[in-house]
Symmetry: C2
């Protein structure tokens, strides 16, 4: 005896979710089958649509179903300021702090030679072109405070220097080794105000 083929397939598919092992996947599948078929159908549709339509914004590399995302199209922002972050969640966290009114650029990771992640994998070429446009006057580097985040920050500050763009790093009000998205708005706000020219 075991689950039916389609139930097994559903359980197996659910393990693609981070933090979901075989046992949780089983509970999730049975819950959906037994109690939330409407939610499951909605999830199937959302996944389908997301995978079909969501790509990366040409300007900031954030996930977006439009060629240029909503944030990059906002004209109320200061084009002289460009904040470099690692993830979409970081953008949300910084925007919620209310202390930054420029644009964003997403690395979607950080340099990590040991994992084979080089400059091209974090969109360094796209950022290079962006800085070459000449509009950006200050590159606010908000990569993580991990060893890789710091190495990435150093690499980006060198790039800024080559374009005569000021490079700044958000202040270490952010706890060392901490993840940006878990930092409260006040701390982030202070960290941004206390940023230092590199």
């Amino acid at each position: 005896m075991s689950f039916s083929p389609l139930t097994l397939r559903l359980i197996e598919s659910l393990t693609c979710l981070p933090g979901v092992g075989p046992k949780s996947a089983q509970r999730m599948a049975l819950h959906l089958l037994d109690r939330d078929r409407v939610g499951a159908q909605k999830l199937a549709d959302s996944l389908q649509l997301a995978m079909e339509k969501i790509g990366r914004c040409q300007r900031c590399r954030n996930f977006s179903e439009e060629t240029v995302c909503h944030t990059c199209r906002q004209t109320s922002r200061d084009p002289a300021l460009l904040c470099v972050v690692e993830t979409p969640a970081d953008v949300i966290a910084i925007d919620q702090s209310g202390s930054f009114r420029g644009y964003y650029f997403l690395l979607l990771g950080h340099l990590s030679p040991i994992d084979g992640i080089g400059p091209e994998d974090i969109g360094a070429d796209v950022l290079d072109e962006r800085l070459a446009e000449g509009e950006v006057k200050e590159l606010v580097i908000a990569t993580g405070t991990t060893v890789e985040g710091e190495a990435t920050a150093h690499y980006l500050s060198e790039m800024a220097r080559r374009h005569n763009v000021v490079a700044s790093r958000i202040a270490h009000g952010v706890p060392m080794g901490g993840e940006l998205e878990y930092v409260d708005s006040n701390t982030l706000s202070l960290a941004l105000q206390g940023r230092k020219i590199l």
Copy 2:
């Protein structure tokens, strides 16, 4: 700034999964978009197919894409023995103990007057018809060891009595208040061997 509409929709849809709050849903969505689009597409397909095809087995009420499930179609089992459990996971756990060779009947819950769950909600009518067929000689009641599980067991033993079917309860080798699916095979095996006639 926030996530794109389709990203937000995906995040929101993921919270239908048990144990997944807004923060985990966000991590899951970004993980899928960034690193596992193949897995996400597979999950979308599996969910779609599961919701479309998986119903309940007419005989045992287990989830199945067939009218009568694989287990109910096995002729190697003993038709005189019918084991009543609460969930599909319980069936798997008991079958893995190797100590039961009869058929199963799934309540998909237990009686809970306070939640408005009555006999018809746990398939008591279907079980009644099954017992009326006359093939079942012993009803092995393996509902949970919770108050509701015990009350359900009592209700089922009364039903068995009306059909002149012996009702037995698996022995309390199972820890009180414990969930059947987390009990190891040896304990379950002992509990089945030590079952008592009610």
